[in-house]
């Protein structure tokens, strides 16, 4: 099916677009498909959670554009994959970051959450959000632990941080839930923060 865009006068405008889900062999939107999308609208949102993640993709990618109510300029955000019954303190990570002055590396072991995101806090200039792109490969397989990789950045015009994080979830079950939070009951996501979960298929069907 061809969908034509109309001009203000009502005539069709070229180029016309054939949506890929209607093209034989190309599936819905090729290999990268949006699973779910959330925008923070309440001022006391502590968690953004994606539940019941389909087990039908090869990889997952989560893109967040977020900010927090934390009093500091920069705040770490947790992006934690898990499944029901996985147990506690099974998360760990290794990170590398630069803050405009120096570079450093560190790690966390035996945690409940993964310290892999960066977002501006309340003392950052209004309207500045941080970007986090989280990948977890082979998330549905049931024979290996799960490894995720996150690129994070927030620049506050004079301060900020850029960070790479790799994390391990010590469980062999398929990942069904990804939770974003601050592990604090008093730190909230800013209104307008967005979270978009994609599936990466190993086919175009």
């Amino acid at each position: 099916m061809t969908v034509k865009r109309l001009s203000t006068s009502g005539s069709s405008v070229t180029p016309s677009t054939i949506y890929p889900d209607l093209l034989a062999g190309y599936g819905d939107f090729g290999a990268l498909q949006r699973i779910a999308y959330q925008t923070v609208t309440g001022s006391t949102t502590t968690d953004v959670t994606f539940n019941n993640i389909p087990q039908t993709y090869q990889d997952l990618m989560l893109v967040s554009y977020a900010r927090s109510s934390d009093a500091n300029t920069i705040r770490t955000m947790y992006i934690t994959p898990y499944y029901s019954g996985i147990g506690s303190t099974v998360q760990s990570d290794t990170y590398l970051y630069g803050d405009g002055t120096s570079a450093a590396s560190g790690r966390h072991t035996n945690q409940d959450g993964v310290f892999d995101g960066i977002v501006p806090g309340a003392s950052a200039t209004s309207g500045i959000f941080g970007v986090n792109v989280f990948h977890i490969l082979n998330y549905a397989n049931t024979s290996t632990y799960k490894t995720s990789l996150t690129r994070s950045a927030a620049d506050i015009n004079g301060s900020g941080q850029v960070r790479l994080t790799v994390a391990l979830t010590r469980g062999t079950g398929g990942i069904t839930t990804i939770n974003c939070n601050f592990f604090s009951g008093s730190v909230y996501f800013a209104v307008g923060s967005t979270f978009e979960l994609f599936g990466v298929k190993a086919s175009n069907a």
């Binding site: 061809t2 890929p20 990268l32 590398l96 590396s105 490894t147 995720s148 790479l164 790799v166 062999t172």
Partner: protein, 174 residues
């Protein structure tokens, strides 16, 4: 922009594979992305380098920046046949490393080919996370990608390699 699946390879041999090659890569995309889930069979150390090349190139250069949980580190391999650029774990456990390699404008015959690597593994107390570049001073359009496990010995059973093409235009009939 759309992302299209091109090909996949999973190591099934119990002893692993000594290399992985994607050949006859279509020339119809704008960029390529290779997504890897892998580890090595040589357990003599906790990790080891792997490298990749395009077509039949004989000499490449890589630069890497990685964190090991204590310090940032850098390394380079300049004009060598094996420009190591990806650190994978070497372990008998259920732990795997991951890598995402982006290769832009891969069909352009006026540009040398450069790839960006994001990779890492974590072992709850050890591990690395890294950013690397790898350059092959060759303007030939990329039609094959060869991956070598170098001091991993082999890519272990269960290692998986998925190649995608990325277009910068809609899939359109216009």
């Amino acid at each position: 922009m759309t992302m299209q699946f091109i090909a996949s390879y999973t190591v099934t041999a119990s002893g692993g594979d000594a290399s992985v090659t994607f050949s006859s890569i279509p020339q119809t995309f704008t960029h390529l992305q290779l997504r890897i889930f892998a580890k090595g069979t040589n357990t003599a150390a906790s990790n080891g380098w792997a490298w990749f090349k395009f077509n039949s190139a004989s000499s490449g250069t890589s630069h890497s920046l990685w964190g090991d949980g204590a310090n940032p580190n850098v390394a380079s391999y300049v004009s060598v046949g094996s420009p190591n650029s990806i650190l994978f774990p070497r372990t008998t456990s259920t732990l795997m490393g991951i890598a995402i390699i982006d290769i832009l404008d891969y069909t352009n015959t006026n540009k040398n080919k450069v790839a960006r690597v994001l990779a890492g593994y974590d072992a709850n107390g050890s591990g690395t996370v890294q950013l690397s570049s790898c350059t092959w001073a060759d303007t030939t359009a990329i039609s094959s990608i060869y991956l070598n496990p170098w001091d991993l010995a082999n890519f272990a059973q269960g290692s998986r390699f998925d190649l995608y093409g990325i277009t910068t235009s809609d899939v359109t009939g216009a």
